[in-house]
Amino acid sequence: MEFIYSTRNPDCPLAYARFGGMHTDCELLLAHCAEQEARSWSEAVEEMVRTAGQRYNRFDPESLLSRINREASLKEVPCDEELFLILQLCRAFQKATRGWFDISANPSSRSAGTGSWELDSGKRTVRFSREDMRLDLGGFLKGYVLEQVLKTLPLPSGQALLSLGGSSSYARGHHPLSDNWPVSLPHSYYPLQNACTFQLLDQALSVSGKDRCGNGHIINPKNGNRVEKEEMVTVIGPSPLVCEVLSTALWVCDEAHRSPLLSDFEGYQANSITPLPDGSAIVRKI
């Protein structure tokens, strides 16, 4: 982990931490926090991110999720308490988003839709109804981990900005020189320019779209097609987990279903952002 503690601005001591986890870069910035407290907290966050990455990475054959993907079409696979909770949450979000959020809709799974994977609460097991089913927590996990960080690792004193790969982030309090945290989304084609800027205050931000190499890695659960829009969807709200799930669902879903879907989640705002080759961007409120 890269850790910097700076007192160059005597009015505002700063701690910065950066580490790899869940196949991306994670960054933390803490203002007005004592050095040792900041370091300990950053290490705890890193541990939490690393653990989640190891347990729920479907590309790691040793992970719990990989075991489920290998075996659940053959038999009921027992889950530990946390994984079962995660799967229950995913099922609940699937219903709440009217099927637009679906962890079985991913490029390695040819099955998608309700009923393809079943949970047994009594036995705490999961079972697939089809052999070609695979689960992927890609549109869920960063938001979940951020949520867990906020719940189980009380933030040190002062203001804080947390980012897991830039796609899931949380701002506690405000920028030391402002009354909120101004957070910008760089333009896809011109990364040194910003497509738009948001003001966060005790809020999470999630961004969904094709990955930064331009690959459509999300599957539309309603038709099984890879989603290839140039557009990105951002969601801002109190819960990092809800923001992540909702941005995934809104990006995938049809234009007509977006507003009704968003209105079911009180306190969340969403935008559609389409970067254009001339350096501008179309930003529309959903």
């Binding site: 950066r18 030391p176 760089p186 990955d211 890695h217």
Partner: protein, 426 residues
């Protein structure tokens, strides 16, 4: 059979990546106007009545595209090699068959001709077709010599006929979008252009009888072709004109040899050519046909970034990567309020630390350059469709012949420089 979608303007501009109403693309690439909504509307329900001269491998490639184009009707076919003519006639049994192209040019029903013959025949056939009142699509390169190139160009210039040349990159959405980024300043000042084309095959077609060797394998003999420069480089050299906003090289040097395929051919099987622009920028073309590892590559190098044209990827010199919060730290240290520019979609799986570049065109078809006939998704279908619309409307797409003229001139001068091993002015 080559699979291609039916073309429409809507599809075409969708593939261009939702450019703002196509306006930006049209100002940089005015020949795209030939696919404009107005031309599509005017041509609706009409078909260009076409004759194809030369029904060998490239001719058949175009015929397969035209078979699926609602704006095309093939009314005549011509080839002096009977097996090729019969192969094409099987696809279009109602088309009239000719063994002499002059007879096809006398066919009153033919409005436009598509010339897919050996390079040495292009100029004369094109001029004869224009004099017969036909619109012409001629395969690239335009001509076999600089003298015949000028005669062909002037003949067209003095006529009111449509002329289009088989430079399909002019209609390939990823090239068009790439050049928009270049001219939008995405990669800063252009400081180099690199082109290469590597294959590992002898570039031969099967010859049923020895006396047909030069007719069928015309690409290998000086009398008919300029080898790698006119058959391959000609496509890639057009990139320079686009990237340099119409500026053309002032000189060229090069070399080449027959290194591996010592089978009686006369043209080089490997070449290296360097073009110099008046502002000091260099454009290179390298080709070897006894090693295919690197395939085909075309890159525009800028002070701030690199565009990989073949793969549709933009790389920045300074990876903008994931340090938005790190930069914010420095700003707060200085007491400066600034945005934290770090938000974005996920990084590619397992690739967060490497600079995988930015893919700027969707659904990119990467042509590895291995095919000696043509590749699906390379702009050929769009180019053919544009020719059909131009035949129907009688309107010449703007600037497209000038672009092709320069691509051919550069190829011919590059060939001459590499054979004479001299620096030549252009």
């Amino acid at each position: 059979m080559i699979q291609n979608d039916q073309m429409s303007r809507k599809d075409f501009f969708h593939r261009l990546g939702n450019l703002t109403a196509g306006a930006a693309a049209l100002s940089l690439f005015p020949w795209l106007e030939s696919c404009s909504a107005q031309n599509e509307k005017l041509s609706q329900g009409e078909k260009a009545r076409l004759g194809v001269i030369g029904t060998g491998s490239r001719g058949m490639f175009h015929l397969a595209l035209l078979l699926q184009d609602p704006s095309a009707r093939i009314v005549a076919l011509c080839d002096d090699y009977a097996p090729h003519l019969e192969e094409a006639a099987a696809l279009f049994p109602r088309a009239r068959k000719y063994s002499d192209y002059r007879q096809l040019l006398d066919d009153k029903e033919v409005e436009g001709v598509i010339i897919c013959t050996p390079l040495s025949l292009h100029a004369q056939m094109t001029m004869d077709a224009i004099h017969s009142g036909k619109h012409v699509f001629c395969e690239k390169a335009m001509a076999h010599t600089t003298e015949s190139l000028d005669r062909m160009y002037n003949c067209w210039k003095e006529s009111d006929r449509v002329l289009m040349i088989g430079q399909q990159r002019h209609f390939d959405p990823k090239y068009i979008k790439a050049m928009e980024l270049v001219h939008g300043g995405a990669i800063g000042q252009v400081v180099g252009i690199r082109n290469y084309w590597y294959r590992n095959n002898d570039w031969r077609r099967p010859v049923p009888s020895p006396e047909l060797e030069r007719r069928i394998n015309w690409r290998l003999y000086h009398e008919y072709s300029r080898g790698l420069m006119t058959e391959l480089a000609c496509h890639q050299l057009a990139n320079g004109s686009w990237a340099m906003n119409g500026l053309q090289p002032e000189g060229v040097c090069g070399t080449g040899s027959i290194l591996y395929w010592k089978d009686g051919r006369e043209v080089f099987d490997n070449v290296s050519v360097v073009y110099q622009y008046p502002n000091g920028v260099h454009m290179t073309f390298d080709s070897i046909i006894s090693n295919k590892h690197f395939g085909m590559g075309e890159q525009i190098l800028g002070t701030e970034g690199t565009i990989d044209l073949v793969r549709g990827i933009l790389y920045y010199e300074k990876s903008p990567a994931k340090s938005g919060i790190r930069q914010l730290l420095e700003k707060i240290e200085q007491g400066v309020l600034s945005n934290a520019a770090f938000a974005g979609t996920s990084w590619a799986i397992e690739d967060a630390s490497a600079d995988a570049g930015i893919r700027f065109a969707e659904n990119v078809t990467v042509n590895d350059g291995a095919s000696t006939v043509g590749a699906a998704g390379d702009g050929s279908a769009e180019l053919m469709h544009a020719f059909c619309l131009s035949v129907i409307s009688g309107k010449q797409p703007v600037r497209i012949v000038d672009e092709a003229y320069w691509a051919t001139l550069l190829a011919l001068r590059g060939d001459q420089a590499s054979r004479e091993r001299k620096y030549l002015t252009i």
